[in-house]
């Protein structure tokens, strides 16, 4: 029996980043322990012992506790190196390029994409206020310029780090799903030919399709 636990809920992009990594490595023997932000379960003393910043996900492998979805993804990738998809390429050079695009996702893509999704989808639910359209406009412009660079990169390479799928591509999937399918900002992608082809490719992978089912099952479960 596996000792792997993921704490969180499938509506969270950070949680599904971990679930998708597990799926890519063919690991399905884990328990998803619900921690619902909407009930404040992430602020209990017990949960704060696992994740002192009160965020989801947290992760446990036996009695080893880890948080931060990208760090958890790296751990899973290392632990299950011999199985599933190779998520860091094959050479030192390929690994370095994967790390580079993981940082681009972290520093450039994610901050703007998340702000747009938050304003369009969560501002009302979590802060009881309407969407701040000025913020959305500003972030859409910023993200557009960033995605122009992605378009140029993906014109010459099938995936971000080269001609192989990696954790760098995977890291983008959950927030991009929210951006296109929930915040309805798909035009950012459909207007950029190679970016769109990349999105179609990575979002049709079995790992993500599996996680989409988990997300949908979670939504039905109120």
């Amino acid at each position: 029996m596996s000792s792997l636990k993921v704490y969180g809920k499938p509506y969270s992009a950070n949680v599904t980043r971990v679930l998708t990594t597990l799926a890519e490595k063919n690991v399905d023997d884990y328990k998803l322990v619900p921690i619902d932000l909407l009930t404040g379960a992430n602020k209990t003393p017990e949960y704060l012992k696992l994740q002192p910043f009160g965020q989801i996900p947290a992760f446990q492998d036996g009695d080893f506790t880890l948080y931060e979805s990208r760090a958890i993804a790296r751990y899973i990738s290392d632990k299950y190196e011999g199985q599933g998809t190779a998520l860091f390429g094959k050479t030192e050079r390929e690994k370095a390029l994967v790390n580079q695009w993981l940082e681009v996702e972290s520093q450039n893509y994610n901050p703007s994409a998340r702000k747009i999704v938050f304003e369009c989808v969560f501002a009302q639910i979590l802060e009881g206020r309407p969407t701040n359209e000025a913020v959305v406009k500003e972030q859409l412009e910023k993200l557009g310029k960033i995605l122009d660079v992605y378009e140029a990169q993906l014109t010459h390479h099938k995936y971000l780090a080269g001609d192989f799928f990696s954790l760098a591509d995977l890291a983008h999937i959950p927030v991009t799903n929210n951006l296109i399918n929930v915040a309805k900002k798909g035009e950012l992608f459909s207007s950029r030919k190679h970016l769109n082809a990349w999105w179609e490719d990575i979002s049709s992978r079995p790992s993500w399709q599996k996680v989409l089912q988990i997300i949908q099952a979670g939504q039905q479960q109120k």
């Binding site: 002192p52 760090a71 050079r93 390029l97 972290s106």
Partner: protein, 215 residues
């Protein structure tokens, strides 16, 4: 090896400090003068399409994003200098965890503060008070969590210095030593002790001296 950047730039400094911790001096700094917009020239954009410094060139590998470059340096020179990822799989995972905390929680709060308090005045602009107040408040709350953690651990990932601690140094230095607004750090006993410790390391002192003379 070439590092394209400026010795006073926070992200360039992250790379230079990593090289220093690994006792590696076999590189050349190629200045990219931000003041004249050299980072937006067509030649530079071929190296770094987002128009940011630093960039590392090692043979036919061109790499950008300072945290990715730092990882590459740590792995390439694994056999020498300071071990920057601990010794075990679990230690490495904790280093990665705190590297993410730096990236996603610490950096977004301290970077705007340093921009307002150090870089804006350098360009003749007044700091925006509301930005300073808001980010200082949030940074204080974040450092309360660091304080609790560092009261039980000498360094972030455990009882060993790692890339996670190093990655905090550049912006902390600018807030504490350049802007002289270090109270969020210095008023917390264990955060202060941690800062005193990591900022007195020889590798950092070497890079800081270079950063200050070239400002």
């Amino acid at each position: 090896m070439k590092v394209y950047g400026m010795p006073y730039s926070t992200c360039t400094v992250r790379v230079l400090t990593t090289l220093a911790e690994k006792d590696e001096e076999g590189y050349e700094i190629v200045p990219i003068d931000l003041q004249v917009g050299a980072h937006k020239s067509p030649e530079f954009l071929k190296l770094q399409p987002f128009g940011a410094i630093p960039v590392l060139q090692d043979g036919n590998l061109t790499l950008f994003e300072s945290r990715a470059i730092a990882r590459y340096v740590a792995e390439k020179f694994e056999g020498k200098g300071t071990a920057l990822f601990g010794k075990t799989v679990e230690e490495r995972a904790l280093v990665n965890q705190w590297l993410e905390v730096e990236s996603h929680s610490f950096n977004p709060l301290i970077e705007p503060l340093v921009v307002q308090l150090v870089f804006a005045p350098m360009r003749g602009k007044e700091p925006v008070e509301s930005v300073v107040k808001d980010h200082t408040y949030k940074l204080e709350k974040l450092l309360d969590i660091y304080e609790a953690h560092l009261s039980e651990n000498k360094y972030l990932a455990g009882d060993f210095f790692s890339l996670a601690d190093l990655s905090h140094i550049p912006y902390a230095f600018y807030l504490i030593n350049v802007a002289k607004k270090g109270a969020p750090f210095t008023s917390r006993k264990h955060v202060n002790a941690w800062w005193e410790d990591i900022s007195s390391r020889p590798a950092w002192k070497k890079v800081a001296a270079l950063a200050l003379t070239k400002e």
